[in-house]
């Protein structure tokens, strides 16, 4: 028989560790031709940080993203940005790039202030122009760059960000993170009571990311996290046999593949974090944290039996159903 169930999983997750120093830096050079060079130690391993950092620099300097050249994770030239881990880079390196961009922008605005006879604080940059009090002026960013160069002024910036290191007390307690991400996922599953196989039919995943710098990339992170969460819930188990990994290949360590992928509805919730770049927090790990709980709850909803041990394999389900059946009369 096939039984369906629905389950919910919720989580909160710290972003920007404050228990230990956690800095990242960035250098930025606004070149005369309008290209912006961003040097960051942040390694993009597929989460899209180079794109997000380029967007942050472009947003602050009012140029197109095509004009930003990100040199990332080259220890020969880029400043330290710490590890791409702990869902921290958008928040921490994002802030470092934002500060570096602001520094370079300040040089431009000072110069523009002289040209327009205005205070630098009234001015902004956008679409390649200098703006004054919300109105576009005829002065272009390139004009200002050229004027700076004529005077021998470079338009450089550097920035670094470290969420206030508070440390923890002897008991390991205190304020461990600068901010938190929140998420709720709902899973719908179908369990085959004859084979014990669980199919995840649909997942809805709502994530508060503060502000989605790149919504498409955030969706990608959420969808990928959901799929990895399905693996964690139902399939993936490292079998260790006397100190050796007993299943070191994909034929034995089973990952969810395309045919296991359910309908995934990624829902981006934006509650801007005041200390984040444009309000952004992180989503990398949060994307997979509530998935297994949601699925296990859905399986419990379908079968009326709870599982406390992941992955919930067909073997475990059949064993539980058999044990259950032993307690019931056959015609119940």
């Amino acid at each position: 028989m096939k039984k369906r169930g629905i389950g919910v999983g919720c989580m909160w997750y710290g972003i920007g560790n404050t228990g230990a120093p956690n800095p990242a830096g960035a250098f930025l050079d606004f070149l005369e031709d309008g290209t912006v060079l961003v040097l960051t130690g942040c390694a993009d391993i597929g989460q899209g940080s180079s794109t997000a950092l380029a967007q942050i620099a472009a947003g602050e300097l009012g140029v197109n993203i095509e004009d930003i050249l990100v040199v990332a994770g080259d220890t020969g030239v880029s400043p330290d940005a710490g590890a791409t881990s702990a869902s921290r880079q958008t928040y921490i390196s994002g802030n470092a790039v934002l500060l570096a961009a602001r520094q370079a922008k300040e040089v431009l605005l000072q110069e523009a202030a002289g040209v327009l006879g205005a205070a630098a604080s009234e001015l902004g940059l956008g679409g390649g122009y200098v703006w004054r009090g919300g109105e576009r002026t005829p002065v272009t960013v390139k004009d200002i760059l050229a004027r700076c160069r004529q005077k021998g002024k470079l338009t450089l910036g550097s920035g670094w960000f470290n969420p206030l290191t508070t440390g923890l007390d002897e008991a390991g307690q205190g304020v461990p993170y600068a901010t938190y991400s929140y998420a709720t996922q709902v899973a719908e599953v179908e369990v085959d009571t004859e084979t014990g196989k669980v199919s995840v039919l649909r997942l809805a995943a709502a994530h508060d990311v503060g502000r989605a710098v790149n919504p498409q990339a955030v969706e990608g992170q959420i969808e990928g996290g959901c799929l990895m969460g399905i693996g964690y819930a139902l399939l993936e188990e490292v079998k260790v046999d006397r100190g050796r990994v007993g299943n070191p290949r994909y034929a034995e360590y089973i990952l969810p593949m395309s045919l296991d992928a359910p309908e995934i509805h990624a829902i981006i919730v934006e509650d801007p974090e005041p200390t984040g770049p444009y309000g952004a927090k992180g989503v990398g790990e949060p994307a997979l944290i509530p998935t297994a709980a949601a699925i296990a709850n859905a399986v419990a909803d379908a079968l009326g039996v709870r599982f406390y041990d992941l992955p919930v394999t067909p073997e475990k389900i059949l064993a539980a159903l058999t044990a259950e059946g032993d307690h019931k009369s056959p015609d119940e």
Partner: protein, 162 residues
């Protein structure tokens, strides 16, 4: 072992070079021909990162010995773009956000190409089946399926325009 003459067509160009017959097609492509777009993931036929087309069929280049590919028409990811213009499947992958780390992408695109070449209007299930030999650890396959669907629609339109 004595090298043999590996003659084949790779991305439309004739290739003729001496190759140790014990070597894999994957190594000939990556090392002798410098076509490093083809990735090695597992090296044992399980992940699909090394997918190339052999006479239009997707194969795991890590499981094909060089002599088996001799005389064949081989397409790698480097041969998918035409005259510097991205193939509609590549465009669709970019637009749909179907690329995260990119390691599975060359294989995914070739698997998708093999599908669309013979089934221009695939269902989502057919798309998922076509890439079921290609593991992706980054995405949830949502945007990959979407990209292939998008590419199919565009190719159909292009076809219609001709």
């Amino acid at each position: 072992m004595k090298p043999f003459r590996f003659r084949a067509t790779v991305n439309g160009r004739p290739v003729d070079l001496p190759v140790d017959p014990r070597r894999r097609l994957l190594d000939v492509l990556r090392e002798d021909l410098g076509l490093t777009g083809t990735k090695e993931g597992c090296g044992e036929g399980e992940c699909g990162a090394c997918t190339v087309l052999l006479d239009g069929r997707p194969v795991n280049a890590c499981l094909v010995l060089a002599p088996e590919a001799a005389g064949c028409d081989i397409t790698t990811i480097e041969g998918v773009a035409v005259e510097g213009r991205l193939h509609p499947i590549q465009e669709a992958f970019l637009e749909a956000g179907a690329v995260q780390c990119g390691y599975c992408t060359p294989g995914m695109i070739l698997a998708a190409k093999a599908l669309l070449d013979k089934d221009p209007r695939p269902t989502d299930q057919a798309i998922k089946t076509a890439v079921s030999g290609n593991l992706c650890r980054c995405t949830g396959y949502v945007k990959i399926v979407k990209a292939v669907r998008l590419a199919a629609a565009r190719l159909a339109r292009e076809e219609g325009a001709v």
